[in-house]
């Protein structure tokens, strides 16, 4: 399977990428690791006329401590997130979740920014963005703006990033030793989650779900239940009942998905509280 023909432009910097996005508008797509976009293009489900390759913008690949948060460059590959010493100590949930994405070859190519902007409800990293209440930094021809996690994911494969904008950085609040857990239920090791759950404890708890709706979602009901000190099983029930629109596919129907969400969240809350 070969993608439809496209014009290829290599951007050497974020500014160059923004200039190219402004020039080509809706016809263009950014190419980061290509591990969501290229499979879609091979199936001709996506046919951009211009690809703007940002894979070589090295100064958008970093993990650094910055006061009360950790700044992660959008072009940081899953493998570098997984192995970052800074993250392993200051935000271990992110390093761990990155280590469960796909398989080693996928993690060597895929970027955290690509995963987040792609906005797939079945993807793992957006659940950390939501559960930790991270802030997304985007830049476009009109300048830079920050978007709260809660406002970022709009609909299926749709985020608040505009067509002429680039996600440059994700600011994660430091976990300060708060408990956390990520539960991913799948059949084979390399697979996507049938259902997944990320739970962070501490003063600002968060419960988010993978593959339980049309977009990556924070479970507001479960997060509130957790904040009020509810038991793990009650938080699990709140997560399962609170999911408005679980998908149905070959792996699971709605009832089974709710069952998984309940069990995984219950398990995750118990683990995060230890």
């Amino acid at each position: 399977m070969i993608p439809a023909a496209f014009e290829y432009k290599k951007a050497g910097s974020a500014d160059e990428a923004i200039a190219l996005l402004t020039e080509y508008g809706d016809e263009a797509k950014l190419l980061a690791g290509g591990h969501s976009l290229l499979p879609l293009m091979k199936l001709r489900l996506a046919r951009p006329e211009v690809l703007i390759d940002i894979g070589n913008v090295a100064d958008l690949s970093y993990v650094r401590e910055d006061g009360d948060h950790i700044a992660v460059g959008a072009l940081t590959r899953h493998r570098d997130v997984e192995r970052s010493d800074v993250l392993r100590s200051a935000l271990p949930v992110l390093a761990h979740v990155a280590s469960t994405v796909g398989d080693p070859q996928v993690r060597n190519r895929g970027t955290i920014g690509g995963s987040i902007v792609h906005g797939d409800p079945a993807s793992d990293l957006p659940s950390v963005v939501l559960a930790t209440g991270a802030t997304l930094v985007v830049r476009g021809s009109g300048g830079q703006r920050e978007i709260a996690a809660a406002d970022f994911f709009v609909d299926f494969l749709e985020t608040a990033v505009a067509a002429d904008e680039l996600l440059t950085e994700i600011k994660f609040p430091k976990s300060n030793g708060a408990g956390w857990s990520f539960q991913k239920f799948n059949r084979r090791a390399q697979d996507w989650a049938i259902v997944g759950a990320t739970v962070v404890g501490g003063d600002n708890p968060g419960v988010s779900l993978v593959n339980m709706g049309s977009k990556p979602e924070l479970s507001v009901a479960a997060t509130e239940a957790m904040a009020s000190g509810a038991s793990p099983s009650d938080v699990g029930a709140a997560a399962a009942d609170g999911a408005a629109n679980p998908p149905e596919d070959l792996s699971a129907n709605v009832a089974y998905r709710r069952h998984l969400a309940r069990s995984l969240v219950e398990r995750a809350v118990a683990e995060a509280s230890n």
């Binding site: 399977m1 070969i2 993608p3 439809a4 023909a5 496209f6 014009e7 290829y8 290599k10 190419l31 290509g34 591990h35 290229l38 499979p39 293009m41 091979k42 006329e49 690809l51 390759d53 894979g55 493998r79 796909g102 398989d103 080693p104 070859q105 996928v106 060597n108 190519r109 090791a189 390399q190």
Partner: protein
């Protein structure tokens, strides 16, 4: 699109040889290697980034070449299965391990398995069985049931110098 998109000049270092070419942007690295360079040891299995048969090393990292564009490899080092043996044809430790432990049956997955295992051992010279299984998650085998493959990689870890047997020499399992 009415106008044919322009080809893009690339220079890719493949198995130690710097090659310059003009490629159509949509050319997949796997097809560039197979069709343009005739390096057909890199196999295409699923063509959907699942099976790992097309695994090559990009600057030393295992990647699925069916999901990388040739233009993305511009200026980079690519190692394919053809570049794994020594210049004199002697097997690498991983290749020898697959021979010693019979890590293949039909052989279709083998180039990808060897490339993934090569990347693993470069990073972690003494992997546990769990490490090996975890790091080969991206490679599917329809024949062996994986145990012989795990044994082969363990053999390579335990015999990092391999055994110096030239290609086409006496077979080990005659």
């Amino acid at each position: 699109m009415e106008n044919r998109p322009s080809n893009v000049p690339v220079t890719i270092n493949v198995n130690g040889n710097a090659l310059s070419a003009e490629v159509e942007p949509r050319t997949l690295l796997a097809l560039f290697l197979r069709d343009d360079l005739h390096l057909t040891g890199t196999h295409i299995g699923c063509d959907t980034s699942n099976c790992g048969a097309c695994t090559v090393l990009l600057d030393g990292d295992a990647v699925k070449s069916c999901t990388v564009l040739a233009v993305q490899a511009d200026g980079r080092d690519i190692t394919t299965i053809e570049g794994v043996a020594g210049d004199d044809g002697s097997f690498s430790a991983v290749q020898e391990g697959f021979r010693q432990e019979h890590g293949l049956q039909c052989g279709y997955c083998t180039p990808g398995m060897i490339m993934a295992a090569t990347a693993l051992l470069a990073d972690n010279p003494n992997p546990s069985e769990h490490d090996i299984r975890h790091n080969l998650e991206g490679n599917l085998c329809r024949c062996t049931g994986y145990q012989m493959i795990v044994n082969s990689v363990r053999w390579a870890a335990e015999n990092p110098d391999g055994v110096s047997v030239s290609v086409g020499g006496q077979g080990a399992h005659s």
